[in-house]
Symmetry: C2
Subunit: 342 residues, 2 copies
Amino acid sequence: MNNTYVTMIRGEVPQHTPVWFMRQAGRSQAEYRRIKAKYSLFEITRQPELCAYITKLPVDEYNVDAAILYKDIMTPLVPIGVDVDIKAGVGPVIANPIRSMEDVARLRALDVEGELPYMIETIRLLTEEMLQVPLIGFGGAPFTLASYMIEGGPSKNYNKTRQMLVCRPDIWDALMEKLTQMTIAYLGAQIKAGAAAIQIFDSWVGAVNRAEYEVRIFPWMERIIGTLKQQYPEVPVTMFGVGTGHLLSLWRKLPLDVIGLDWRCTVAEASAMGIAQTLQGNLDPAYLFADWPIIRREIDRILEEGKAHGKHIFNLGHGVVPEADPDVLKRITAYVHEVTAK
Amino acid sequence: MNNTYVTMIRGEVPQHTPVWFMRQAGRSQAEYRRIKAKYSLFEITRQPELCAYITKLPVDEYNVDAAILYKDIMTPLVPIGVDVDIKAGVGPVIANPIRSMEDVARLRALDVEGELPYMIETIRLLTEEMLQVPLIGFGGAPFTLASYMIEGGPSKNYNKTRQMLVCRPDIWDALMEKLTQMTIAYLGAQIKAGAAAIQIFDSWVGAVNRAEYEVRIFPWMERIIGTLKQQYPEVPVTMFGVGTGHLLSLWRKLPLDVIGLDWRCTVAEASAMGIAQTLQGNLDPAYLFADWPIIRREIDRILEEGKAHGKHIFNLGHGVVPEADPDVLKRITAYVHEVTAK
């Protein structure tokens, strides 16, 4: 068992700096594309053997130190009553967006074992039999889930979401309450089934300013992460979002174990903010297309900053893009392992 | 003549804090929608009387202290050889995206008077006859223009743009050189025709990290702004972008007069960074849909921070959204004028 990911977060000395890539199971892999040509995302996640196989693919191909469960962040929304369709080239499209208190009231509680048994089964398969690295379970944070539910799909500026947060805090808080309860159940069930760690994706929360985050989002995140840490103190929790540099001074006060950085906030800058948690990141995926000496120089810089900080997990600063060359990802893992080997 | 906008930037004491709204001439106005139903954006800008009329509409309707020339940031790209089409609901779509050094070499120099005579004529009409407030000329910054030219249209993550910047600095720098020359000619011609101020929109440059900005973008911005300030020292230059908080420590070193803030970086935070320039902003447009006491409280906070900083122009933290109520915009202007009246 390669446990470098958890060892690093615990503050012990792993045999090398752990590496994994956000969206590592995905279109950058030929085998994934072959399967995806036949099945939709939701069709894959409903077949535990197939979903486990896809989750494990990048561990074998890239030699990364953690697997992350293959699924969409929309997964828990369907059973609570959200009509989601994943449209190719667009993303999740929602037929019944949230507009009123009644829309929020209609959302049901999530019964994970009853409604997502295939997810539980996938986690069991992976953790009991298949994987030699930790499995990271994950979920979208309430703001990010709410952004899809309110906008009705992907967005650039999240105008309707920010309008609800600012103008209708009553509806906003009711929605956060439902999504908070759902998220605790959803992430807790993944841990119970065998996930060794959790990553919360608050991908789009960078659209909110610090003052609004503090009042309308922070308390819910504190409750989610605090509840999980109370129930499962040994399971590390990571949070990641895009363009969240202005929120990190609040994130560091959350009971998180790991803070994921996008490509615009360096490990050194985050460290200088007094963040005590493990830092994860953050090679700009744009570098995946550069000549190797340019990539290597950038990795060296990130590893140096990570070493100065102490606890560091190597990752990209955003998800792997479909056009990425698998050989480059493989080479990056090998290089980080080699130069950080104890 | 109401010159509060320029007076504030000069560090003198205007009769009130000047107000204007990004995208103030636009779909929030009934009269604009009426005209837009008949003519495309490019058809409007080619008719100086009509374009001047639209530019002046918000000055009359909202009583703002500055006008901003109505046009698209794509305007100067068509004459240099970019095949741009503004698609409704999408934005600018470009049929011949930049992929190679040859694509950059094909871009022509801009002859503003020869190729955009209607823009010059619109500015003359406005400044010689129609306006009692300063006219702000504007242009997109090279990064933001390049992002459309490289992606082929609007984008969420600017992956191809960042890839070119990181992986092909030779092509990147050649493109920046062309766009820098073009921008100096384009903005200079607007000033010569009568524009009292310039705003540079580097709307999407927040996608780049600080280190890459410093090496691959800062020198071009320094040349553009430095050249304009040398030729027209009396004409204030503003820069604005979305999500640029991590770049402000570099922007403050540019020879800018005004730094525009989006809704995520407060005036107080920018002031605390040691920015000496006038700060412009930054009411979150989401507040336009709130009850008046909530809007007023937010305006009060922003004005207080502006007063503490010294030089402050009131604006939104992003453009007016089409759904905004004109009466709210009018009320905001009146309120800011009233509470800051000397």
